[in-house]
Symmetry: C2
Amino acid sequence: MNNGVNLKELAAELKLAPSTVSRALNDSWEISEATKKKVISMAEKLNYQPNPFARSLRENKSKTIAVIIPERINNFFAQVMDGIENIAQEHGYHLLVYNTHEDVDREKKIVNLLLNGRADAVVMSVSSQTSDISHLEKLYARGLPLIFFDRICTDIPTTKFITNDYESSYQGTKHLIQQGCKKVAFLMLSKELSITKERHRGYLDALLEAGLSPEPAFSLNCSMCEEQNIELIREMLWSNNRPDGILASVEKLALATYQAVKRTKLRIPQDLKVISFSNMGIAGLLEPSLTTITQPAITIGQECAKLLIKKLTKPKQNDLIDQVITIPSKITIRSSTLAE
Amino acid sequence: MNNGVNLKELAAELKLAPSTVSRALNDSWEISEATKKKVISMAEKLNYQPNPFARSLRENKSKTIAVIIPERINNFFAQVMDGIENIAQEHGYHLLVYNTHEDVDREKKIVNLLLNGRADAVVMSVSSQTSDISHLEKLYARGLPLIFFDRICTDIPTTKFITNDYESSYQGTKHLIQQGCKKVAFLMLSKELSITKERHRGYLDALLEAGLSPEPAFSLNCSMCEEQNIELIREMLWSNNRPDGILASVEKLALATYQAVKRTKLRIPQDLKVISFSNMGIAGLLEPSLTTITQPAITIGQECAKLLIKKLTKPKQNDLIDQVITIPSKITIRSSTLAE
């Protein structure tokens, strides 16, 4: 196949004005059926390639990307949003933003509203309740470009962005063990989430490698309710067989741990060491300052947006292939994991 | 001037089908120029009034509200957004969200993009750089329902929602004085902002009432740059005539104060007491826990959305009158202002 011609070259070949050719290709009422036929036949013959900018103007007229997140008051998601918006604004795209509040029913409602073409594309992180994914399959089947990040849906064959969840969790657990912990607990929000599974696997492997046997009760499943989580953690800390280290797989569970410790006589890090996945800017101002596994949130947002906009601008050259792209996290050691 | 005619009456007068008249008024290509001229001239003569429902269907078809905030990683704005979204979702409205990053040029660009009718209404909090308001005047003149919250633009005659900035700041300063402070500093982000002026006025009045003379150098104008702010505050704390109390008019300046204190030998609250406007959920986990003036952020968001949706649904019965609606803040006393 040849490299094709552009609008101007096609018009020259047809001995017509470029504006006439453009209108003919757009099926304008101003152009006769005879001319339209002639233009289309020549366009096919010469392998006419529409200008991508003109095409995006015509086909993607909403110029809108929908972003669905499970929580807004969360540094990680706020930073991802900023990353998406930076790239989107550069390319003239607008963002429709939806917060599911970790509620799968709300997520379904939002996804259904997006089936009508209000947005040109969707980038999302699923709620911690999402196990039935029929609404996401429907959205994918509609052909709308769809990307997942962080809390991804592995069964949908599109591109997903995550951090190195297994490896970060493995390294975080290993750090606790190196600092002297023998009984490490793992706090999670939902077993349903792919990232929880990966982080949990990293935690278990680090324990096994160190010859420590994982205590089932130390893999603590928490809820959406802050007070309930604080009490769950406090109970675990009050038991005879209490952990001496905690890896929180989400930021809010590290904060719940700090609150729970306040209800005991334990001290961080002397009696309990804590490390957490967290993008909190003020982790260093907590008492004690919190050791964190920080995800590359802004980069994740930017990469999602770049890929989507490529897809929207040149759909044929850019497939959202079924792949998981990993951008590594960074561990910052602070006082909460200090050895005595 | 007479009360005008509706579409049906206009069509009868012209002896044309209402659909033809409608298409002529909408400048459809299906109608000849001669007919268009005739219709428009008769519409003007008879003072044709479009049906408000048809008009709203035609003009407000996006079912979208644009929300413009100066910062996303900020608990106050995140909570306002959640409040707006709760009400908007209930009424089938979608949110376009824009972060100006406190950059007035970005704000102008965003506002200009909204002039084309992409959103049915706008709710916004201006950037701390905004002093020239011509872009906001243009948006208002376009007739798009517009509401301000928190960082309001007093010169635009629409409805604004704020907290009791003067009173809260007055009470916060009074609290510092009651706890023993004699030299209280006021940290602000921008003198241009109406809320800064109100909060500063409350601070000054509390000092004067207590017989303390305000030190000009203690009204500290900070910047967008965190490191610069930390250094500015540190310098103030190192001077011979240093403050013994600080009222931060925005959350990030309280956090900068905590960081600055770490670079000195001072202790909070023994050497320096700190109170801040803040919606941080974890103010109680800082070292020491931070005394806060908490704004009713979710309520502010909900009230903005309720009023806008009323206006969009029944525009004639609901004017966005030129008024400022105040929803009071709440002071929560913690360790950072403890007396010795």
